[in-house]
Every structure is written in structure tokens, then in C-alpha cells.
Amino acid sequence: MGTLRMDRRLFLQAAGVTAGVAATTQVGCLKYFRKGRTVSNDDRQVPTTCELCPNKCSAIAVVEGGIVRKLNPNPENPKSRDMLCARGNAAIKQVYDPDRIKHPMIRVGARGEGKWKKATWDEAFDFAAQKLAAVKAKYGPEASLWSSTEGFQEVFFKNLGLAFGSPNLVRHPTLCLASVNLAYSATFGTVPSFDLLNSKYVIMSGANRFESIITPDTMDLIGGVMERKAKLVYLDPRFTVTAAKADEWYPIKPGTDLAFILAMLHVIIKENRHSHEFVAASTIGFDLLTEHVKQYTPEWAEQETEIPAKDIIRIAREFSDAAPRAVYYAGRRSSWYQNDFQMRRAQAILNAIVGNWDQQGGMVPNAKLPKGEFLFMPWDEPKAARVDEIEKHFPLAAKGDGVYLKLRENVLSGKPYPVKAWMVYKQDPMNAMPDQAKTLKMIEGMDFIGVIDVQMSDMAWYADVVFPESAYLERTDPVEVMAGIWPAVVYRQQVVKPIHDTKPNLEIVQGLAKRLGLSDYFDYTIEQWVEAEFKELPIPMAMEHMKKHGVWAASGQPSYGKTLNPDHRFVTKTGKIELFSERLKEAGYDPLPVYEAPTQPPGDRFRLILGRVGYFTHANQSNNVWLNEFMKENDLWINPKPAERLGIRHGSYVAVTSSVGTVRIKVRVTEEIRPDCVFMLHGFGKKAKMQSLVYNVGASDAALLETAWDKVSGNAAFHETFVKVANA
């Protein structure tokens, strides 16, 4: 080795390479790795829990010289299956992002103008508390709105809203999966998991599981499909990665999935392929269902869905043959249509009649684990009714989550009462809600807007005060129990100290509470809170274990069939699985899913459809420098046939117009979409200049989407917008 090196040096001299060049080559690797960074001897490995999406994967942070250098997957978490996706890996850049909010900010210009003054925490707290108190004094506590998505520290934010006296907490589900949750609850009394690891036959409607990563489903499905253990039938107007991996892909006519499912029910019942034993023992309403689906023949469904009747019949037979290891997968997926709840209900019913309930490879009710609770001082229940009038319009919907779009309508109309202050935690209603212009109107009507976030979301950009939250790698959070087929407990502990003047949400909440006279309700530290939770975990030496491992998995194999004993009462009105739902009937809804054909776009228009890629979460992370590399700008997918008709060329820019807005966006002419649809990805066309990579780059779908919701759950219906496309 030594002589070889000598030879190289000799070569360099002989080749006349100058000493100067030789010197620059001496720059050691470590030296440039460390450049511009704090050099210390702080080298550690810290297990923690990822927060870049809601999956809560376990990660091990590698700290070198006081810097988070790498995040590795933690194999102990049974749900994250020993992986960390692109987003999880890129969480480092959430911490070391030059665009981060580095200190509290108070608006000095007009809303959205981007003129800020740097504030101290005291100034920011005083300012916000005074504004909130003024709204409370003038309009009452119910005039404040508290919106959030999820997260381990969300509980503190919600508690502040409640302690403040507002009934108006509004959360993400009605912009997300409320229709799925409600449909499965209405049928089974609970929302089950799907045992894709052991399924033999999986049907998916648009749940693009290989690009919208859900643990462990994504990994389990890829294993099953690729190792030929499972067959995947996939319905989607777009040729997604999931479509590419599926055994069969059907570019179904948008909005007709319910017809497909009803026809499957028709075939299975007509051919007597359902599970007689299970239907008799555990369900109610089968006779009514039998009568009801007689009208929905495969031939009829072919007309609706454009899926050949012979394929529907074959799929129905294959599905029932594979049962109970067969699932019509619900998964997570936003709602699409105003009849979305009924489509999800039909899936639940189909799953039920083939008897795949609580079976290996079927649907499995979630196993839960106990966790301790910190006992804090309780407050009086808010007195006013919710501003979204959820009880009147959506009697079955989850009260604690609210109904987002109806809420916005009511706030805009000022009825039943005015709402004048808007507090937001870790959510971007500007991009999450359809019809951005309407959201801007709602913003205009507010006396005060305060936003707590790690990054400058578009919502934060329009706020009066922005409270910078510490990134997850800088925080210790409450303990999270993950119910599921493989239940686990995860813990997020601080990996590095905050690098900017940021605080964890609890401390932000406490700062506000103190000035609002609500300190007594928040008189604890995160350590006390976590300690109380640790106490009742079924883990020996819980605190030591969680600090060392970051995760605890209930050992052993999943237990199937606990709810199959004849005495089991489902949490439904009848105690049975409700194929026919008396409760729905009483509430004024169809007790069995009734098909309504969706409106189709007129000749010159396209249906705008939405979806995801695996390296962004919703509208987040397009500004993360390591993820932005994979997509710097979003584009509009359009099929070559209509593109040719309209004279639209690949790579050119077009104007896309709906009834509520117009955007300019680059075109991707692609075979991978139906000719009657166009698609664009979420998370671009940002208004916040502090998202420098995506500020004014591409377009936001929120600017185009119209206000529409599912009738039962109130879930935003995201596929009900028709757009015009023209060269720009």
C-alpha cells in the first residue's frame, strides 16, 4: 500500500502537477463534511419517531458533532417494517432548512404581503393573547376557531381551545378520510385494519398505496403482489405506480366505483357465494340487501363503469373464492364524491358478506394497548353550539373533528354567529381546503389569526403572528399508542436542542394560557405528562425501555377471531354488523347504498382528479431541498387525444379554469390518464415566499377545487370539479 502511494506521488510530480493542486486534494472528507457546522464531540444514536407524515415510523437518529447526520430505520417497530421512506430520511433538512421560521414573527404589512417584524416570545404571546381576549370580550369564546391536523402535541392545542371556551375545534378528517371512517363505523361499529400481509386477493379503488405510503400496508402489499401470494385488482382513472404493479388495472369511469361494488354484491349473492354461516351469525339485514342489489346487474354496471360485465363477474367470483383472505381495501384516501360515504359503505358490506371479518388476510379490528393519562385540571364544557351546526346537518359525523367546509360556509355567512379569531396548529387550510379564494375571504374576515408551525405554510404567511414550533428532532412529545393488527407504542424524544428560537407546542400553548388566565389548566411539563403515560403502559421498566428503544411492540402473532364468538356485541345499534342500517334510515340517509350516477363533465371540460407521490406528504415538503429534487414543479397530466384536439403541446403552459379560479401550469401529455380527466399534484404554487423553492412555482389545486362535500360525513368531495384547459 505504502509503495503504491509513493508511486502515485511520483506520478504526480512527473506529470508536473503543481503543488497548489496537490494541496487542494488534501482536503480530507471529514473536513468538508464539518464545514460551517458546530464541531463538538457530541456523537450519539437516539431512537425517535418520525413526524414527516402520520405513519409514526420508528427511526434512529445518528448525531455526530451535535448535528443530526442520518436517520436510520428502527427494525423494532412492527408497523414501519424496518424502513424509512424518502420523507423520513429528509427530515434532517426540516431542521437545517434555511427557510425555517427562526423566531416569532408579527405581521406589519397587509395580510399575505410578507412584511414581518421579528418578535420576542413575550411580545408574540402578549400580542396574541390581547387579540384573543378582545375577540372573546366582544363576541364570546365561541368566536374563536382552533384548527389542527394531528400530531403528538396536538392535544395541548385542542385543550387550549377548549379551556378558552370554544366549541369550534376543527380537525383534518373531513378534508381526509372521514367518509371511510364513518362508513366502516356505521357497519362494524369500528374502523378495522386490513391484513394485507396475509391477503390473497386485494381490490383497491384509487387508494394508490404504492405512492401514498401507509405502514405496514404498502410494504405488505408489495411483498404479497411481487411474491405472487396475492392478486391486486386496481381501479383508477390514472395509471399510477400502484396500477403499474397491479395484476389488473381498470381505468374506471370516475365516480362509478359504487356501481362496480354493487354489481359484485349482486353476483356474489345471486350465485350464493357469500359466507352463509358468517352472515347468519354476525350480520343483520341480508334479506333486504339481497332484494336491494337485484337491480345492480354486471351488465348495468358495465354501462356505468366501462368495466366489462364478464370481468366484474369473474372478479366477484375470484374475490369470494379467495375469501376470507380477500379484501376490498379501504385504506386512507380522501373522499371524491358527494355520495362517497355510500361507496365506502358498499365496500364494507361486500367485505362483510364474504365473511372476511376478523380473519387472517381479511379485515381485522384493531388491537389496542393501554396508556396512562396525566390528570390535569378540567375546564367547563364550552357553552355554545358548534358554528358548523354539525348536529343539524351531519348528525352521524364525529363531533370533535367538525366539518371543515360547512364550517367555512357558516363563518363566511356569519351565521349562526360570528367567528373572528382563527388559531391554527400544524395545518395549512390555504392548501388543504378546496377553493382557496374562499379561504382567503374567510381570512379577510378575521380580527386575528395566529399560526403555530415548523415551516412558513401559506396559512402562516397570512397570519398576524407566527409561533415557530421546534422540529420533531428537537422535541420530546407525548407517548403514542398505535392500535392495529400489530399494536405498538412509540416515543419521540429530543435528539438535538432547538437550533433556532423555537419552542415545542406545549410551551407555546402555556405561553398563551398564562396571558389568557388559563395557566392552571396547563400546569405541567412534558416530562410529567410523559411519565404519567409511561406508568400504565404494559411494558416492564417502561420509561427506560422507551428511551432506549423508542418503540415497544406487543410480542407474538396477531390474534384473529376475538370478535367471532356468538356472544360478541358489535358497537352498533343492533349489536350486529349492519348491512342494513336502521340508524342511517332514522337520520334520513339511505340505509343501503343507493347508486347515483355522478355528473359527467360537458364536452369541453375535464374532471380534475387528485393524488399523491411517495416523496411528499400532502402540501408539505415540496420545499424540502432533498425532496424537491425529484419534482421541482408540478404539471397537469392530460391524455394525448384531447391534447391534440386542443393543440396543447407537452411542456408548454396552459391556463386551467374552474368556476372558482384559474391557474397557469406546465403540461405533461401522457398516456397514463383517461381522456376525460386531468390530474395535478398537490403542494405547489405556494404563496409564501419563505417556501423559496416552490413559491410561485407550479400551481395549487386548492385554487381550482370547488366546494362540495359528501352528504353523510361532510367530507370534502375532491373530484367534483370540472375544468377547462387552454393554451396560456
Binding site: 482536503v27 468538508y32 421512506c85 424518502a86 405510503i213 411481487m226 398516456e671 390518464i673
Partner: protein
């Protein structure tokens, strides 16, 4: 004690790849790869006409060739082959002439502006030496890459190559690539 000869390689089951980019970002973090550069990447092949369509993904990186042309053309011997088959660049000896970038049939190398040297996949030799898997292998949701020692007849990659059909890219170069793509 006589050390048994090792020959590290990767077997890639491309069909399992969902193009999620986890490997690319894990590599970026692990090896401090500059923005705009990659030591591994995913090739996409899209074909067909609606609705008869197909997409194939193919993760790629340095093939850690047996007879690497990058090493042959290196004027300073900076690119060298470790005893276990990993092709590495000695940054102290690299003069940044970039002949190797031209010589590589896979375009697996890039010029690192800050250090003035050429970089590429090291198979995370530093992780391997510490008993860990390469970052791209460990982080992958669908475990597309299988890492192992070809000389070890009990290894998973040995078994895969013995029982499955596979292909190599550009074998005609005589480089002897060691990135095995399962068919």
C-alpha cells in the same frame, strides 16, 4: 487467521421498486451528496398506449465492476478496487481530471465541486465495515436491493443468483459489472 476472500455485491429485484426515492435520500444523507447530484437513482421506462400501459423502475448506482474502466483510466490510481470488490476513490489522490466519469459506462460518477474530486457510490463501505448494511439497502420499504457476499455460499444473494434468472447491464464493456438485476 486466514481471512476468507469476500466479494460484496448487490442483487436488485427491480419489480419491487415503487420509485419512492427512499434510497436516493438515504444515500444523500449518509454520504453528504450535494443537492443536484446522486450516487444512486431510479431509471423509469414508460411505454404503451392508453389503456395498455407499462412502467418499469430500475434502481441503479455504481456497479462495482470486477475490471472497472474508471480505475483503468485513472492517471493517479485514485480509483482502486478493495479486496472485497468495492470500487473506491481515494480523495487524497484524486486530481479531479474526470477521465473516470467519461470511462464509466453507467454514468455513476459526479464531480464534487467543493472538494474538487470525483465521487460515487462506495457501497457504504464505512457502514459495511461497521457491520451495517448500505444505507440504500437498509432504508428501502420494499427491500429491492439485497446486499451480500458472493463468495459466501450461504448468503441470500448467492442463493438468489443460483436460483433466479438475472441480467447485467452493459456486460459487453468487459467491466464485469456486479449489480445483478433479477428478471
Amino acid at each position: 487467521m486466514a481471512m476468507k476472500k469476500k466479494r460484496y455485491a448487490l442483487v436488485v429485484d427491480s419489480r419491487k421498486c415503487i420509485n419512492c426515492k427512499a434510497c436516493a435520500v438515504a444515500c444523500k444523507a449518509e454520504n453528504e451528496v450535494p443537492v443536484g447530484r446522486f450516487r444512486n437513482w431510479i431509471n423509469e421506462a414508460r411505454q404503451g398506449e392508453y389503456p395498455k400501459l407499462r412502467i418499469d423502475f430500475e434502481p441503479e448506482q455504481c456497479h462495482h465492476c470486477e475490471h472497472p474502466s474508471c480505475a483503468r483510466v485513472c492517471p493517479t490510481g485514485a480509483t482502486w478496487v478493495r479486496k472485497d470488490g468495492i470500487v473506491l476513490v481515494d480523495y487524497d489522490d484524486c486530481i479531479g481530471c474526470r477521465y473516470c466519469m467519461v470511462a464509466c459506462p453507467y454514468e455513476a460518477r459526479y464531480f464534487h465541486e467543493e472538494s474538487g474530486t470525483v465521487h460515487k457510490c462506495t457501497l457504504c463501505s464505512h457502514r459495511i465495515d461497521g457491520g451495517e448494511l448500505p444505507a440504500c439497502v437498509a432504508t428501502c420499504p420494499s427491500k429491492v436491493r439485497v446486499f451480500g457476499d458472493l463468495e459466501d455460499s450461504s448468503s441470500r444473494i448467492h442463493e438468489l443468483l443460483a436460483t433466479r434468472r438475472y441480467r447485467l447491464k452493459e456486460p459487453q464493456t468487459g467491466n464485469g459489472p456486479q449489480l445483478y438485476y433479477l428478471l
